[in-house]
């Protein structure tokens, strides 16, 4: 299924969602991307990616945590699903496997 493939930005946001655990919503994720990955991203892009990940089944969401700054709106909070966890692990182990096969001379360390 095409949905089980995952893009680079999707992976990054999925990871950050996982790391933020119980406070993963649009603005928080955007700021985290800016700080951790040091790249600028618009809020609408974050939302679009989150929606796509949810459609692929890697995220679930709920509404909670209205605050004064948010004009009384609740946060749209995201949690990584089991599927999401699996796809992250697969991608990580794939990288590790490939890393292991790289001979040390390849990077000029020999």
């Amino acid at each position: 299924m095409k949905g089980s493939q995952i893009g680079e930005l999707e992976e990054l946001i999925l990871l950050i969602t996982a790391s933020l655990y119980d406070d993963a919503y649009g603005v928080a994720i955007m700021k985290e991307v800016e700080q951790k990955a040091n790249r600028s991203i618009t809020i609408s892009t974050v939302h679009a990616v989150l929606k796509r990940l949810q459609e692929k089944g890697f995220l679930t969401s709920r509404y909670d945590g209205a605050t004064q700054e948010r004009g009384g709106r609740r946060k749209h909070l995201f949690t990584v699903t089991l599927e999401g966890k699996k796809v992250l692990e697969e991608s990580r182990s794939l990288r590790n496997t490939i890393w292991d096969t790289i001979p040390s001379v390849a990077f000029g360390n020999g």
Binding site: H47, A48, R52, T67, E69, G71, R73, H76
Partner: protein
């Protein structure tokens, strides 16, 4: 919380499930940024950010709404079709009226668009002007030329730096042969070398700047090249001009499109003309018959150039002109104006008429408007029948918006069907119409995008207008009033309907009166005393020979052969025949006793001694030419108008005076009564007749008998016996004469046809409306009848309302018709005056038609047995 229209739009756009999270995030970022960078910048960023959310990912798919629109449309369609079927008569009238109106409107407008498209295809059209010439004598206009002085183009290009290049051209009368075979070629021209550089006439072979540079070269049109050389490459071959000169074919050009004011198959280089005549032609200002076109550099102020011309004429030719008390004035005609605006001596082909074209556009619009008004009237008049439907729908919860939607849907649907029918009509009648309108087969649909856009615009507006008003009226009914049963027609609706009927009949009466006046004018022209006999006359162009003596000997052979035939009554030879302006125009002519500044211009006809008898011209003084007097070459005859122009009061007085004509002196021996040399449209011309034993030009043969085909073939066999294979070009004089007002006759018939259609459509509407109106008063009429009303009183009661409307329309139409038709009649030298009858007769016709239409219904109601209508009470 920020309020901005973009956010409100976004809310509508966004999937509601996502909206709260998105809105919250936007708010959070805004309040954070308000603290850090200030509220103004924060707001600005927020708006920018919100724009990012207008992407497909967040779009809220309104599946439910889509379904409901489909259901609504289907429901609308069903109701529309049911309504159409229920009232088949009305529907048919409505559809037929609309379809005819649209088809007629389309046909006319495409014709008008075509007339307006003339010469649009020239790339440089905005910079090309034709130099038209007026010649004056003692301040009075003597002749108006499209084809003016020979030398002016070359001189203006030399003297004014803003003139980029010029082209001059003049007609050739030579015949063409190739391998001893003669070819009939319409209007060959000599043109100067820049022709193909200036005009967008693509060359299929040859180089635009070279093909016309040298003497004795010729360029052919594609179709003529095909006709002569039949597939061979013509370039480099030679054709013979008048059996004398070998002309080298240097190029082939694409045939000119129909919408060009020019038309020719063959162009000789102008240098050829210089060789055949004299070097003087390059600079001659007193030698007319040369069309001159100039191309200006882009951005030149034309008005400025135009203003400099009078002084230029004075500076360069002032003295020479003053000698003859003459004047010249040039007009710069924009290239794309020539077809519709210009109609002067020496036009290449018959021009169009601007007034006539705009009249037709008005007629087209009238027909369309009448059709749409029909629709509005019939629909609103019938709204009563649908009032209950509206009432019930409203009670069941229909919104007004939905009802308007329903009615607009209905009218769009009807208009669309009408449009389909109209398209079929147009496709079917297109070729007939264009033949009728005098367009050649090569003619196709107008290509301008403006035309199609405009047409689309007109149709959309019409559909919207004719749909909108009935929709508003019908959706506005109040359910309670309607369903209680005491619903009466609104006064205002009635008045509007009456207003619209007035507009319809206004348009109809303008058209009827217009048609009537056009026909009256045409029959007036035809009934004019021509002063010349034109029936049963065969005209043959004389052949060209290398020397006059050869011609003279051959001619007597031909003449003897022809005269021996029993069907030939008479034969004469002349340089011009009635039915066209004589090509020979001569200036600087005066009586010997007069000073040079009293010289004038005359048209000259060379003729043999037979001409005046032959054409049954009347002599008012002196005598006609007669060879028995001897030395007739030294005598001339003048027309009455020419005598007047020479400043002599009575014809008798001028007899035996001496005329000074280009260095020679002639004795005036006779005066001919004025006759219509050119056409009844034109003024009498000032003519001088000169005697030649063999003038050359045309033979006129007076025939008796009916079997024209046989007669012509006999004449042709004599022709070949006398002249071998010289081209035999003939026509009948009355046909040729009638050509002069072919365009008016055509205009009259187009006008008549579409006026007829407009009236038919208007009457369809009136028929429907009358049928409905009388049906409303059915009971009233029956009760009146029971109470003893007389039939004629009842008829008056039912028809006066309509008659009043017709009367108002007629009164309103008179000023417009008077103005428009006055303008049109200005085109004619001899014309009818606009009198009362011209307006009264069409008015009576219209009243009779309207009465007949309405009476069909009223009489039916009156003659029904009252018990039929009252039995249910």
């Amino acid at each position: 919380m920020v309020d901005h229209w973009l956010l409100r739009w976004l809310e509508r756009f966004c999937d509601p499930i996502l909206w709260e999270g998105i809105q919250g995030d936007l708010e959070e970022l805004y309040s954070y940024e308000t603290d850090t960078i200030g509220p103004d910048k924060a707001k600005h960023r927020m708006i920018r950010r919100s724009i990012g959310f207008f992407r497909p990912a967040f779009y809220h798919k309104q599946t439910q709404l889509k379904n409901s629109i489909e259901t609504m449309l289907r429901n609308n369609l069903i109701i529309t079709i049911r309504n159409l079927r229920k009232h088949k008569g009305y529907s048919a009238i409505n559809l037929l009226g609309l379809a005819i109106g649209m088809a007629a409107g389309f046909l006319i407008l495409q014709y008008v668009a075509f007339e307006l498209s003339y010469d649009d295809f020239h790339v440089n059209k905005d910079n090309i002007y034709r130099m038209r010439l007026d010649r004056t004598n003692a301040g009075e206009i003597r002749s108006q030329w499209a084809a003016g002085a020979a030398g002016v183009g070359q001189d203006i290009a030399q003297d004014f730096p803003e003139v980029k290049r010029y082209t001059r051209m003049t007609k050739s009368y030579a015949d063409i042969s190739y391998n001893q075979e003669y070819y009939q070629v319409d209007d060959p021209y000599y043109v100067s070398e820049d022709f193909f550089m200036m005009f967008t006439v693509p060359l299929i072979s040859g180089v635009d700047s070279l093909v016309l540079r040298d003497p004795y070269t010729v360029v052919l049109s594609q179709s003529l090249a095909e006709r002569i050389f039949k597939g061979e490459d013509p370039v480099g071959k030679e054709i013979k001009m008048s059996d004398r000169n070998d002309m080298l074919v240097t190029g082939v050009f694409q045939d000119l499109p129909e919408n060009s004011h020019m038309k020719f198959d063959l162009l000789y280089s102008f240098e050829t003309y210089v060789k055949l005549t004299s070097e003087e032609v390059r600079t001659a200002w007193q030698w007319d018959g040369f069309l001159t076109y100039i191309e200006l550099y882009p951005g030149t102020d034309v008005a400025d150039l135009d203003a400099k011309l009078p002084q230029w004429i004075l500076d360069t030719h002032g003295e020479e002109l003053a000698e003859y008390n003459a004047g010249m004035k040039f007009y710069l005609q924009p290239l794309d104006d020539i077809h519709l605006i210009s109609n002067y001596r020496g036009e290449i082909k018959p021009t169009g008429n601007k007034t006539a074209t705009y009249f037709l556009a008005i007629v087209g619009l009238f027909v369309l408007v009448i059709a749409w008004i029909n629709y509005i009237n019939l629909t609103t008049a019938r709204s009563l029948q649908r009032a209950k439907e509206v009432g019930i729908r409203k009670t069941l919860g229909s919104l007004r918006r939905q009802l308007i939607g329903q009615f607009i849907f209905e009218s769009s649907f009807l208009n669309l069907i009408a449009l389909v029918i109209a398209t079929l009509i147009v496709l079917y009648f297109f070729p007939y119409f264009n033949a009728f309108a005098g367009k050649s087969v090569a003619y196709t649909w107008p290509a301008q995008p403006e035309f199609w856009l405009g047409l689309g615009g007109i149709f959309l507006t019409g559909i919207a207008l004719s749909g909108f008003y009935p929709a508003i009226v019908m959706s506005g009914f109040k359910p309670l009033v309607v369903l209680r049963g005491s619903f009466a027609r609104s006064k205002s609706g009635n008045r509007l309907r009456q207003g619209l009927v007035v507009v319809q009949f206004f348009a109809s009466i303008v058209l009827i009166t217009g048609t009537f006046i056009v026909y009256q004018q045409m029959s007036y022209l035809r009934s004019q005393e021509l002063g010349v006999r034109i029936d049963q006359t065969l005209i043959i162009e004389t052949p060209n020979f290398q020397s006059d003596s050869v011609y003279a000997s051959r001619y007597s052979v031909f003449e003897n052969l022809v005269e021996s035939e029993s069907f030939v009554k008479n034969i004469t030879e002349s340089t011009a025949t009635p039915g066209s302006t004589p090509g020979w125009n001569a200036g600087a002519i005066r009586l010997v006793t007069q000073p040079e500044e009293e010289s004038n211009q005359y048209r000259v006809v060379g003729m043999d001694a037979n001409f005046i008898d032959f054409y049954e011209l009347d002599m008012v003084a002196g005598r006609s030419f007669d060879e028995s007097y001897g030395a007739e070459e030294e005598n001339v005859i003048m027309s009455e108008r020419a005598v007047k122009l020479a400043g002599i009061n009575s014809p008798e007085e001028i007899i035996n005076q001496k005329l000074f004509f280009w260095g020679d002196t002639f004795n005036i021996v006779g005066v001919v009564k004025d006759y219509r040399q050119e056409s009844p449209k034109a003024e009498y011309d000032a003519l001088i007749f000169r005697y030649f034993e063999h003038p050359g030009g045309f033979y006129s043969i007076d025939l008796s008998g009916n079997d024209m085909r046989n007669i012509i073939s006999t004449v042709e066999s004599h022709w070949s016996q006398a002249y071998a294979n010289k081209p035999f070009n003939y026509y009948f004089l009355d046909d040729h004469y009638n050509e002069q007002y072919k365009s008016e006759v055509r205009f009259g018939s187009i006008f008549g046809l579409f006026s007829g259609l407009a009236i038919f459509v208007a009457c369809l509407g009136l028929f429907g409306l009358a049928s409905y109106m009388t049906s409303l008063r059915l009971k009233e009429v029956s009760i009146r009848k029971v109470l003893g009303a007389a039939n004629d009183n009842l008829w008056l009661l039912l028809t006066t309302d309509f008659l009043k409307l017709v009367g108002v329309s007629i009164l309103l139409s008179i000023p417009l018709t008077y103005y428009l038709m006055g303008e049109w009649l200005e085109n004619f030298a001899t014309r009818i005056g606009l009198n009362v009858w011209l307006f009264l007769i069409p008015a009576v016709i219209l009243v009779v038609i309207a009465l007949a239409t309405v009476s069909y219904h009223t009489l039916r109601v009156i003659f029904t047995n009252p018990s039929e209508n009252l039995k249910y009470e």
